[in-house]
Amino acid sequence: MKSFSYAQATKPADAVQLLGAQPQSKFIAGGTNLVDLMKYAVENPDRLVDISHLDLAKIEPANGGLRIGALARNSDVAANALVQKQFPLLAEALLAGASPQLRNMATMGGNLLQRTRCNYFYDVSQPCNKRTPGRDAGDAAFRPTGCGAIGGYNRIHAILGSSESCIATNPSDMNVALAALDAVVQVTGPNGSRSIPILEFHRLPGTTPQRDTVLEDNELITAIDLPTSAVGGKSHYLKVRDRASYAFALVSVAARLVTQNGMIREARIALGGVAHKPWRLPVVEQTMVGKPATEATFRTAAQALLAGAKPHEHNAFKIQLAENAIIRALQTVSS
């Protein structure tokens, strides 16, 4: 691992200031993604600003919902009584991710920002537009360095929203649940604070796959807000993977459904493992309202969510898998 300097921040404002004081600085929270990538020389910061001691780990009621501090550990959030009662979908998704050890270390902010990635991203001997963006990224003369996965082994890759630059998927389980729950990400930076709705937080690759999110490099995530929906309902996180536990999702579904007399009143469906960001289409959810909570309705919605899916050489199976997973998840929450 490349040598770097270290500074510990005690207040959010200090953290932002420390980060801005030296180029090539990065925050470190749990370190489970960053240290891993530094060992592979994929991330090479000159300085780490340790934010793990910031007083941002509380889970508190706020505006009828919950505010979860960015430094709250994934395991603490999953075990929190308020979260389990009001947002069991989030607890379920968190517990489906990584391992107990990693969840003890991983933070909410770090999980939001774990890199959207693939195996080729980790291998510095392979071309990757995300790891090594073309020199003129963003302008008309953009020349990509290449993507190892396009034309390579792409079983785990995206079927929706990908570009000719990058077909990686966002690997977070938590993010899929947050997308279904209309979470709002609270951030602060040198120019003040702002709130970013979760569906706008992660981005599609386009011609700039090096950017996973709309967060600026000098901004600190302080909290995640979860608004309470007006009506109750049932939720479920379904994760399909290559082994029973401790594996990234091939496809996952965060579903929430409110039904009355067998009719759908409200629906939320977010997909993981299929795109560069959690995949959610509110227009499709709208079309479900007022329809019977039956397999036919669920299948129509699943097909609408997956309309335009574009498989690569090894991942065509994901389309049918996702359709079935959506139906299964919706059946689980309607029964």
């Binding site: 691992m1 490349k2 040598s3 770097f4 300097s5 270290y6 500074a7 510990q8 921040a9 005690t10 207040k11 404002a13 200090d14 200031q17 420390l18 004081a21 030296q22 470190i28 370190g31 489970t32 240290v35 891993d36 530094m38 060992k39 000159d46 300085r47 780490l48 340790d50 793990s52 395991s75 990584a98 391992s99 107990p100 050890q101 990693l102 003890n104 270390m105 029973a244 536990s245 401790y246």
Partner: protein, 174 residues
Amino acid sequence: MIPAEPAVDATQKQAITLKVNKKTYRLDAEPRETLLDVLRERLDLTGSKKGCDHGQCGACTVHVDGRTANACLLLAVMQQGREITTIEGLAPAGKTNGQEQLHPLQAAFVKHDGLQCGYCTPGQIMSGVAVLRDGHADSPADIREWMSGNICRCGAYAGIVAAIESVKKGDTIG
């Protein structure tokens, strides 16, 4: 605003203090040194193993403030002020009838063949102790799920689950 802690030069070693198994260690370390490397290479605590060095296998599992963590992904400099427990600190101190004592789960691993080569064992036991302590050992399925962060290349899983179950039933966790 002036930050409380001064920044440290990249190449410069920094004096750090770690509390491991109730002992205080003072040493100079670079920011990039992981807790696992410091334990094994500097403090001669080689019980925690390096399997993958990437958070994937669990061989390096230690307890930090009573919770399991992968020491290979922790920077030592960030663990100051925390209570670290390794496999070496698990058994009760002192001797009974001239014999060193084992933690009940260590004894159960011996009795139930919870190991073959033994490489993953320290990590398995550190996770197993947490699984028992946190109430995740109610069924074999529960144990398997909550032990999933520890891979055993020899496939001693049946013995590992049996060992944890036996301690759960005997209720003799330390």
